[in-house]
Symmetry: D2
Subunit: 310 residues, 4 copies
């Protein structure tokens, strides 16, 4: 599979990890998901992120998931390999890269504070993983409590040649995209592919600011594909119209602590993609009230974007 690069564009959907009701891996649903994502028109997949419940998996399970997806997909695959230490990070990286992954994603340990600590960390990661592993830096202060300023991202891009992509989910983050693009144009840093996360909550404007695409797990990846395409075609008004139709649901997904993931698994279950909406322990499913609220949002969405009707 071709590696991700500094100019990778499009939608990399973050895939959930399907479990049976008893918490064991559900590889059949995983294969079905892969087919679905391909039909939805995404450009790649990201596995084993936060949303993929990565920390609840053993090393063996993690490898099994990547193997299953790579056997099925014709898409490039990015794999989350964040770990408390370089030891297990490198072990998983070596396994998934040799299986054919196109890159790995690394989030910062939440003990990092100073600029030098953050830059130093990614330098160690880059050196530790070796010159052939393209790296995605995940910039998500809300979850990791690590704040990467624009100068820090510049320094990482300047000094770690294998860092080629930014999973952008700082918040607020619009000005950061603009600043990173300006720094690149001024010759102050190599280009990074910027893929937007944060559940897509600001994707309409992020694309207009110069992002290359989306890397997030919204339960209708078709919407992400459309927003990227419409913006690329300069049809920003249409992009806003479509985006606004989905925003009430996108917003509802923006609930931390397992709720957002429960929403996604519920919708993907209702869409027939997941056999069960189960999260592995510790995790939860939607309460009855939450389920009713999501279903209400789905009904309202179907009126504004009839393709979503279930």
């Amino acid at each position: 599979m071709k590696p991700i690069t500094r100019t990778t564009r499009g939608v990399y959907a973050i895939a959930p990890t399907p479990f049976h009701a008893d918490g064991t891996l559900d590889l059949d649903s995983l294969r079905r998901l892969v087919d679905f994502y391909e039909q939805a028109g995404v450009d790649g997949l990201t596995l084993l992120g936060q949303m993929g419940e990565a920390p609840k998996l053993t090393h063996i399970e993690s490898v099994k998931i990547v193997e299953t997806v790579l056997a099925r997909a014709r898409l490039p695959i990015v794999v989350g390999v964040s770990a408390p230490g370089l030891g297990s990070m490198k072990a998983l990286t070596d396994d998934v890269m040799s299986l054919g992954a196109s890159g790995v994603m690394v989030s910062p340990p939440n003990t990092l504070r100073t600029d030098d600590q953050i830059v130093g960390y990614y330098q160690q990661v880059g050196e530790g993983l070796g010159p052939d592993v393209p790296i995605v830096v995940q910039d998500y202060p809300l979850t990791f409590s690590v704040v990467m300023s624009t100068p820090v991202l510049q320094r990482i891009a300047q000094t770690v040649p294998t860092v080629v992509m930014l999973k952008h989910e700082d918040w607020p983050g619009l000005e950061k995209i603009t600043a990173l693009r300006a720094a690149h144009e001024a010759g102050d840093m190599p280009r990074l592919s910027i893929m937007c996360g944060n559940g897509g909550l600001f994707l309409d404007f992020e694309m207009q600011r110069g992002a290359d695409g989306a890397m997030t797990g919204y339960c209708y990846p078709e919407l992400l594909v459309d927003i990227v395409a419409l913006t690329t075609d300069g049809r920003t008004g249409d992009a806003h119209d479509l985006f606004d139709a989905h925003l009430p649901l996108i917003r509802y997904e923006q609930q931390q602590a397992g709720v957002g993931l429960a929403v996604r698994k519920h919708v993907m279950h209702r869409r027939g993609l997941l056999t069960s909406p189960t999260q592995r322990t510790p995790g939860r499913t939607l309460t009855d009230t939450e389920r009713a609220e999501v279903d209400l949002l789905l009904n309202r969405l179907a009126k504004r974007d009839p393709r979503t009707a279930l």
Copy 2:
């Protein structure tokens, strides 16, 4: 002025503090704001919260603002009095209560961690401020890094008789409203008035979960008034329709670190309410790109809710 109580309902708009371009207090704009809020139909005002740039004010300025508003308004006023210590908290509380405030709002210092520390803190506050000062507990983990579980809020309600209201902005928070209402109905805690913050991002569902109203600073308080009224009348479908029209802008306001406040001051400036959109240092105004984005959202909003046209 009548004190706030456990059954207070409606919209308490959080008012920004108007400054001239040179950073001095703009009391004329403040009086204009008061008139505007009354005409918009809000039920009360909250002054000197985070959004009111309270930490940038001296004690004397804080008192001046409260005095000016109370001289003008016929509405009950809640005043933010959070401070690193009880000394200055009590000094400000005594001043504003004697001027006629209806209650004070207290956020937790971000050093609190355990349940006992949080409960103990509000017990000290309750005792320190005395039996005649109604207190609003601000539950806003995203900003204060203090997580108050439902049992903690129960214990505060049980043991601090002057705590009568919760400014609810936990995130996710829908289930918490349901749990608090259930605890009250089961006789496990006295009733608290629950007023919703978080910029209104979940107000549609929060009202349906049993909240009493909104206490937030969205730049169109008229929308908050309408959502509360429509939900109270059982017209939840209409509430969703109106809410969804405003959601793109509400979402855009959901940017921390001064951006959200800059949006609000910009819109209120465009609405003719503030003479200047200035935030006092440290603060910022919108960049050109941000201003264009907000203006785009305002134009789009005016099509869906023509009353907002500028």
Copy 3:
């Protein structure tokens, strides 16, 4: 090997993980360390804690270390199995318990905040690891940012039957030992073995408060053995005299961020126990100035406790 219990007493030395200068595991030094600890009179060993550089090891290396020690030692072994998720925690636990470990140590993920979250976490761990795995709870707020109050530890002890030991390193922590012992005597919680960490900085008083021993990595474990024995014999004056002689060095070890570990590895290298003082990346050795400072402290110590002379 016999499992640890609620009445385990004595010294469990926390062993460093020896590396060659190139960062590979040094199993010869590890065997030499095991012999040394046995001769020093410790009652057990703790492997793969923070000090053991656990996060830098792969699963396979971790198992290899435990295997090597168990093949050599006649002492009970506790193994650190903390992990971001239950998946890898259980995998490592199963491996080391079947090799003959006497229990596992689990630190809390630093995302936990409320009492219920902390208690819930250890309930999940207890259930996940199964009824045959004795668990040590590591209470170390300075490093993990998780604050466990006495009521929280009571609830864990009450509801998780396999939690039998507390690695006590709250700070300040003397009153907590007293409170936990009082709660046990009042029948409010099952007894926990309390083993003290924090580098031994308060061990003199901790033993007098009712602790059962020490579980820490001071570079002279002989001192820990002596303090526990002297206190048990009621010779507290002698315990203080000996402790005070070592305190300047114990204090110097109390430097986070890898310095403390570098001190320990340096001293154990000088004592002929470790072939190399290397820490695996990311880590560091002492600077020249630090080395001179430690050697000065060793010289001064040798005058007050001649057995330590090198």
Copy 4:
């Protein structure tokens, strides 16, 4: 009074704020303290720091304390003016500088994360307080959760001309002193006076690393004066001997959350300096067991440093 400068040396004792048993200010004890510090040979005093229970005081009380001390003392006085916002910081600064203070101390708000945020904060403070107010930067990550790297301190020193002194209490911090001195000698930053805090726990080595003195509140400031003098005279062996005699008590004072301050107030009460060991709410006094432990340490200290006998 002469302002503090980049070459200020010696001991600036951090004075506790004396309260009567009912929590009111005890100005008689404060005057007695001032006389005591002068006789003990300190070079200056620092008021209204964390140890001075500053957050519990009103603005009026804070000014009263500074006024009382300045009316009595012939020593330069540094005043802690940290506040959540520049408004109240400037108000207190103006008041105490016009009364004759020699400088102010400012700790960073614990919301700061990136290097740019920290540098930007002190730039705003420097500008806000004006060109005539010498500033002490308090670098105390353990309490404030703000980590200032050496490059950050360099940038502050380079860009904020009124920052002349560092209250050094990073931990570990020895290498930082060395790095800051090297940066100055290399011409990379203006000189800062470096005064050491952290309760004095590393003062022996900090002085040898190039610090200018101590700024901390150990209950025997005479010891701080002696260590600085002995090191300045090159008598480092004698300095270590004396330091080690006090270390068990210095160590016992190293307990956060009010315990350390309770120890200091207890000892100063026993020394006849404070009429009452009261801390204002929220605060605490020593438990019976703690008091017995401290008294034991005092008895043991009196044998090694007979001047301390009570």
